[in-house]
Subunit: 234 residues, 2 copies
């Protein structure tokens, strides 16, 4: 309920879009089917995602309106811990909203947020949504996309990037496209991920093991099974 | 997508609330699990609901912001076909929004919409949400609540009314509380219901049979099973 009020407030401030509010509702329904908790499978995916981020040459966290509204501090903390760059990318991009979202991240303490002046384009998606920054997402080898739409997730994967997605719908195109899908609520996932940075930073062997043993399809299948088991009629 | 644009537009006009947008998203997720179609079990529930409406002494259709935004014409058509009164009831009630929603219904062709001057209260729910009209919901024997929240659904049931709910979440409190729950999207459910008015108007025996043979718990269990079956990993 507090989360919803926060979204409503930041909708009023122009950070969150209408689509963002509806998407949040969809997430709520899937989270409900999940039992509103981080499952052990999601936790493992979060650990694997951190292994990828720590091994990356140019890791970037892609932030949209909902992410900026829901957990700016956690995004900043993760970006410092890894470290990784932060780039704002909006599904509904207008100059004004872009500035509002970036400003919101800066007000929360982010030092340098990319996205203001996009100077590159991703292949294969329409118009504005292809825009990104050369030193950020365009040249990134690993991109964390909390709450990303399917088209952009696919474009990132086609561009050869490791895509780490946080998505409550295990059947979404984003979930299926990602290298690692964390089927979890973003405000639960990010703190878990931050915790794993310390654990994995000095343990290259464990990072290797996690990455080589993780299969996203299998992981998603388990999440679907968890939701199926959780839907009960009695 | 067209539906979302309509909601966004009417959000801008003050008809739809923030909570309404998020609730719509939750519905989308459940509809996705349903296969975005009217199942045969939902269709039966819609037929039973019409049997109740036709047998009622004072049937009322309760309309909130989302219903007014999504399908004002269908609500009006159903209210004429039965006939049933229309009363606007908002979860987030302010004088201004109330007037906007009622005006929206009137602009769509509704002749007399109740709710402007509530002169009665339902027992057992807090503050504004208890308000209703004496000649409408307060004295109704059968109330159709498309997209109702759990608290009000329970209050209506406690007041001894037959509650007919349209709710995409078969596990919600509203779904469990209702006498008949139509687990279907409201813009699909209402046209189906309108179709059943003709079929059942002259057939009192069939109405009796439908009402006496329908069990909401069994119906909901089937809907849950349909969703479980529809969640597949391959």
């Amino acid at each position: 309920m507090v989360v919803r009020e926060r979204l409503a407030e930041l909708y009023g401030a122009g950070v969150v879009s209408t689509t963002g509010l509806i998407a949040h509702g969809r997430g709520e329904a899937f989270d409900y089917l999940l039992g509103e908790r981080t499952t052990s499978d999601a936790l493992l995916a979060e650990k694997v995602a951190i292994a990828y981020l720590l091994d990356a040459k140019n890791p970037v966290i892609s932030v949209n309106g909902n992410v900026a509204a829901l957990c700016p501090e956690e995004v900043i903390a993760l970006s410092r811990a890894v470290p990784a760059k932060i780039e704002v990318n909006l599904f509904h991009r207008t100059g004004g909203r872009m500035e509002k979202v970036i400003h919101h991240m800066e007000a929360a303490g982010a030092k340098s947020v990319l996205g203001r002046n996009p100077d590159a384009r991703l292949e294969g998606i329409a118009s504005d949504r292809a825009l990104c920054s050369k030193e950020g997402i365009y040249s990134a080898d690993v991109v964390l996309v909390p709450l990303e739409d399917g088209d952009r997730a696919e474009a990132l994967a086609r561009a050869g990037k490791i895509v780490l997605a946080i998505d409550l719908n295990p059947l979404s195109r984003t979930s299926e496209t990602a290298t690692v899908t964390m089927v979890d609520e973003v405000t639960r996932a990010l703190p878990n991920m931050i915790g794993f940075v310390k654990v994995l930073r000095e343990d290259r062997a464990e990072r290797r093991r996690l990455i080589s043993s993780f299969d996203n399809r299998t992981s998603l299948r388990k999440m679907v099974q968890t939701m199926r088991d959780h839907i009960q009629s009695d």
